[in-house]
């Protein structure tokens, strides 16, 4: 029964849906890591922007204007993280923890202040990004059911994989980001300001993560609920790392975690114990991380001889 379910186009369709927020955040993590900073604040940025998405789309009466405003807000939080890490020399992990902490409290306060709602944004009339059916593609057997009828942001997330790839490997800024991450001193020695590059990388990282956050409350779900990022920012960190912080690699690992999430969503409806099934995405990440790190370790040991 489950096997059938997994290979059904409906499941793969759901997988892409569940992958979307993780993928945005994983790309965000990849860019930050390529520049040499771990962006653990992804979790908080997604949570913040999930709320901002609801508020902005309602305020502008437009899902798209809402998205743009949310991206600006996400970029700003990324920039703030950069300010603390780069300017004030705060430890990057502790700074991220602080931002995540603030996100937890501030989203509740802001929601309360804006709408009087507690816990869920039921009285905000947010506008969500629509799903669309793709002409031509929808008629391809199997594949059509997988790919068509997705949220526009899902398509954007797939396009972003290519965009981020081209950005990192074909543009001057991408080259400089990789140079700073690999050898900061080398980049500095030719007059590249590693600080500036990292400001840019973390800001872009914040923007990408905010698209994931926006999708959570304006596509994946239709409302904001407190704590709705539910560790996806942390999972994305693992996805980025396991994908070697390359866009394509991050995409493939995100798909795996998205599948685990989708499977969890399906199984929760069945006879399986609801709580144990909820463990699936996290267990997949933990085990996946273990296997990945182990193979990497063995490979390194082989290379160094012995």
């Amino acid at each position: 029964m489950i096997i059938n379910a997994i290979f059904s186009p409906e499941f793969l369709n759901a997988t892409l849906r569940a992958t979307t927020p993780i993928l945005f955040a994983a790309l965000a993590s990849a860019i930050a890591s390529k520049s040499g900073v771990v962006n653990m604040a992804l979790e908080g940025i997604m949570l913040f922007t999930a709320l901002f998405g609801v508020i902005f789309s309602a305020a502008f009466h437009s899902a798209w204007l809402g998205l743009i405003a949310t991206m600006a807000a996400g970029g700003l939080i990324g920039f703030l993280l950069a300010f603390f890490v780069l300017r004030l020399k705060t430890d990057e992990i502790l700074a991220a923890i602080a931002i995540n902490l603030i996100a937890n409290g501030a989203t509740i306060l802001i929601l309360l202040a804006v709408s009087g709602d507690r816990g869920i944004s039921s009285s905000i009339h947010s506008i969500i990004i629509p799903r669309i059916t793709l002409p031509v593609i929808k008629d391809i057997p199997f594949l059509g059911k997988v790919l068509s009828n997705q949220n526009v942001l899902t398509y954007i997330s797939l396009i972003m994989v290519a965009v981020v790839h081209i950005f990192l490997y074909k543009t001057p800024l991408g080259l400089q980001i990789r140079a700073v991450g690999e050898n900061k001193d080398a980049a500095e020695s030719v007059g590249i300001s590693s600080t500036k590059i990292r400001y840019i990388s973390l800001t872009i990282s914040g923007i990408l993560a905010s698209m994931g956050g926006y999708f959570l409350s304006g596509g994946y779900m239709t409302k904001f609920t407190t704590g709705m990022s539910a560790g996806r920012g942390f999972i994305a960190l693992a996805a980025g790392a396991m994908g070697g912080n390359t866009p394509v690699g991050s995409f493939l690992v995100s798909l795996l975690f998205g599948a685990a999430q989708a499977l969890s969503n399906i199984l929760q409806l069945g006879t399986w114990s609801y709580e144990l099934v909820q463990m699936l995405p996290y267990a997949t990440t933990l085990i996946g991380l273990g296997i990945y790190s182990y193979t990497k370790m063995k490979k390194r040991q082989r290379l160094t001889g012995k």
């Binding site: 543009t171 080259l175 140079a179 020695s189 007059g191």
Partner: protein, 517 residues
Amino acid sequence: MDNKVLQMSHIMKIYPNGVVAVEDVTFELEKGEIHALLGENGAGKSTLMKVLFGIETPEQGEIILNGNKADIKSPQEAIKMGIGMVHQHFMLVPSLTVAENIVLGVEPTKSSLFIDEEKALKLSKEIAEMYNFDIDVAERVEELPVGLKQKVEILKALYRGADILILDEPTAVLTPQETEELFVQLKKLKEKGHTIIFISHKLDEIKEICDRATIMRNGRSKGTYFVKDISTAEMSRLMVGRDVVLTFDKKPAELKETVLKVRNLCVTGSTGIKRVDDLSFDVKAGEIFGIAGVEGNGQGHLAEVLTGLSNKYKGKITIFDQDVKKHSIRELRDLGMAHIPEDRMAFGCAKNMNIMDNMFTNQYHKPEYSGKVLLKNKKIESKVNGLIKEYLVKCKSYKQSVGMLSGGNIQKVVVAREFSTDPKIIIANQPTRGIDVGAASFIRQRIIEFRDAGCAIILISADLNEVLELSDRLAVIYKGKFSGVFNDVKNVTEVELGKYMLGIKKDDRLEGIIYEQ
């Protein structure tokens, strides 16, 4: 005619840990000269250049560049003003190509968005040809040998229009052939009108290539001289402040039992290159066995396996007939091993912890200093206070963080700790590198005392004076192999030793390197 391109006057730099690296230095540069900046490690040469290149902000002082007052706040600004620097540790991104490294930061673009890779290759090739640098610009930097990497560094600076080129100990990592090649290139650069600052402490090289030399000592300038007017002896006197030849009261060695035996030792480095290549030697109690060599010829790997830090080696090492591979570092230390590491900050101390915490990491587990669970703090405290006095560590109290001390005093903390366990075998790797003369001679004196007390000592050092003065037997390591061994150290000259160190001379038979089969 006044053709001064640079004037740095009364520069002072204090590092955040309170170390006064440059006290009051005035330094001038004339157009088209090769100007040596000469001094021992820690004299302040690198710091002065970092100030010029905008990496460090001075506490006081003024820089005048081409007649205008310059306020250089960052390397970016320095580069814009026509200053280029070739660092001792290469500033290259290994996974990028030569061309990508050269154009990094000023990439040519097409449709103003994407990197124009073809143009980058073409421009890099042009600049390389203009200065007669023979290099494949499409190759990845990680694949290049050291000499070529340095060329990439110089090209990077030239590509950015550097008029003043700072070279920080450029020959330290080069083979003699590569050095000769570099000198030819530097002379060509000079002909083309570039001004070069050549940081070094190798007097013969300065004699060969430099026009003038500024000599630094302890953060102060000892004057600028025309190289042709000053003898090497005079230069070295100014550099170290006394005659270079150090003399220690050294009794003849009284050899006792063989403590360390090394047979057919091979160590492979992380890149798959053999770093230690089939070494065999013995060391007896009561002697100092010196291992001389230019840094990077396998000394680091040798020290690592001798002290148990790594057990990735082939061959056999025994200390007191115990197989080193079968013992943990703790067990080796309890056998009587002490180790002065090459890099005191990375291995020799925890800079945020206080002197006391740093002084008994190798013996806190012994019954004198701890019970089953608790440390005996009173006893440790009095021991540490004793060591501070005995080793003349300059500090406010044992509560001061080690990171706040000067290099020489940190090294004294390391040495005091290592020598306080009454060791039977000491592995000292560059024990006096980068520290002041006083601290260095103090440490050398102690090494001799331990040898007289019957300790076996392996002294690995790139400092010729040090190995020649201290060693009872001396081997030279070159590319992981011993290129020569001297049983009568008194009659070895620096010149002779230098030939072995640079691989110019090589003995096939190493007599007396092992005592028994």
